[in-house]
Amino acid sequence: APLGIGHPATQAEIALWDIDVRADGTGLPPGRGSVAQGREIFAQTCSACHGEKGQGAEADALAGGKGTLATAKPVKTVGSFWPYAATLFDYVNRAMPFTAPQSLSPNEVYAVSAYVLFLNGLVPEDASLDAKSLPKVAMPNRNGFTSDPRPDIPPVARN
């Protein structure tokens, strides 16, 4: 039986905190943004750390790395590695730009997500994304993940 401690949470009260976006897009807010809009925002707000074309600078590369995952020097980016486009919205929306998290509007997050996906060749230059289209962007490494098989090391006799 509940102990009766605490305050019932209404959706109105917690809305500003309820920011998560699932892989299937559940949680995406209304709004829309284009690659072109994203390019501008990215140049002003992101490129200083991630490089002009998202190739990486002081901070991680966001584009490139295609075909490197099984090599000696894997480069994991949104394009080469991330399984879901919706995760990009979720992450940028909660954590970027690094020094001013949660400062972008939904439209801006859509736009900059579209631009990062464009940099990875995953949407065309004239794309504009919203809650419906973003989760549908086909991610190359969508099926690159397996579940945990551990313990995976065959036990050897202890001498």
Binding site: L3, A9, E58, W82, Y91, A95, P154
Partner: protein, 398 residues
């Protein structure tokens, strides 16, 4: 002082071998009064015993520091030396303003204040936390690394808080509930999805660490502590728990904290920290000053339960001796092991190998690499080798 066993020695002790012991100045005067300071700090002679990053970080708020295991004894990590891993730095949260929201697939969504949380039935547990990025020795590290650099992303504390299951009882899970999203109030709004079996396996919503309230670096005023599970999932500065029917696929469980295999696929949701051990003394950076008796000391742990045994080798794994385990040996807690050793002045290769209560045997680096390659980044739990040179110098031999 730097390492009791050895460590960088100061100038040859003025007292020893130079005639009568003198009465030092501190025996001839009053020392400092009580409560100076009222919250105590270590001796000034211990100022080198601090947390340090392995390399200067590009972004100091998205970086880590290691616990100086080479200077520590027993199993408790003082909170001031607990390892750090932040993604947006350490927020300075006012506990009066802090809230925990629990919602999603629940019957009675709740907002809880810190005072509310303190009223729930509480439990205390001695558990380790380890970053799954600890020990980046897939290809062998630098010979100069100390154990702080090879293994410092592990610490062990007494955590007190409310069982997450107690809070979920309070809100009432809906039948479709399978995963819980945990979210921090830091600038990364750090998020991880936790499956219900992990949630129900003793997971704590903790507000205290080693008796006192959490330190800011460990999530003040509230954090998750998931025993035996990779540290990243024990969300700090916890502000929200959302119950769902599937994982939320956050950046931290897709882009990061997935383990790349040689074929280019990546293992996801690799939660448990497998059995591991390391000798902390003698270890990298120590200097043995003379032949003779030493005690080999180390730490062992398993995310799957209790440590059953630890073997120690001084000849690089050719022969092994069982170590003594310090009681109490607790589940998902550090276990201190010790074994006597007489150093004959020759070269030696010191290794330890832990076995847990499930029978899992800590593997060698080669065994891990044979199965996982060298790109998987997380979850390295291979046997550590320290090389003792005839000079007494101790170095990392990976």
């Amino acid at each position: 002082a730097a390492g009791l066993v050895a460590g960088a020695a100061g100038p040859a002790a003025a007292q020893q071998g130079s005639g009568p012991l003198q009465v030092p100045v501190w025996t001839r005067e009053q020392g400092e009064g009580i409560a100076s300071p009222a919250y105590g700090v270590p001796s000034a002679f211990e100022k080198s015993v601090i947390r340090k990053p392995r390399t200067p970080p590009k972004f100091p708020t998205a970086a880590s520091t290691g616990t100086p295991l080479q200077h520590l004894h027993g199993i408790i990590t003082p909170a001031g030396l607990h390892y750090e891993r932040h993604h947006a730095g350490v927020p300075a949260i006012d506990p009066e303003q802090h809230r925990l929201v629990i919602h999603g697939l629940v019957e009675r969504p709740l907002i809880l204040t810190m005072n509310d949380i303190a009223r729930f039935p509480s439990v205390s547990r001695l558990w380790f936390l380890e970053c799954s990025g600890n020990t980046p020795q897939w290809t062998g590290g630098s010979a100069k690394w100390t154990v702080q650099e090879t293994h410092g992303l592990i610490s062990c504390s007494e955590w007190t808080g409310v069982r997450l299951s107690t809070l979920l009882d309070e809100v009432g899970l809906k039948p479709e509930a399978r995963w819980v999203l945990a979210e921090g109030a830091d600038g990364a709004a750090m998020t991880r999805s936790i499956p219900l079996d992990v949630v129900l396996d003793e997971a704590l919503v903790a507000y205290a660490q080693n008796g006192e309230h959490l330190r800011p670096e460990q999530g003040y005023p509230l954090r998750l502590v998931l025993p035996g599970i990779e540290g990243n999932m024990s969300i700090k500065w916890l502000r929200r728990l959302k119950v769902g029917d599937q994982p939320f696929q956050s950046r931290e469980e897709t882009s990061k904290y997935t383990d790349l295999m040689p074929d280019g696929t990546a293992r996801q949701f690799t939660f448990v920290m497998e059995t591991k051990s390391v000798i902390t003394s003698p270890s990298g950076g120590h200097q043995l000053r003379e032949k003779g008796f030493y005690e080999i000391r180390g730490l062992a742990w398993s995310g799957r339960g209790r440590i059953r045994s630890v073997d120690v080798s001084t000849d690089g794994g050719a022969t092994w001796r069982p170590a003594e385990l310090q009681e109490p040996v607790l589940s998902r807690c550090l276990t201190r092991f010790r074994v006597p050793w007489t150093w004959d002045g020759g070269p030696a290769l010191l290794q330890s190998r832990a076995v847990d209560e499930t029978g899992y045997v800590q593997p060698s680096r080669q065994q891990l690499v044979d199965v996982r390659g060298v790109n998987s980044q997380y979850h390295f739990n291979g046997i550590q080798t320290w090389k003792v040179a005839p000079s007494g110098e101790v170095t990392n031999a990976a």
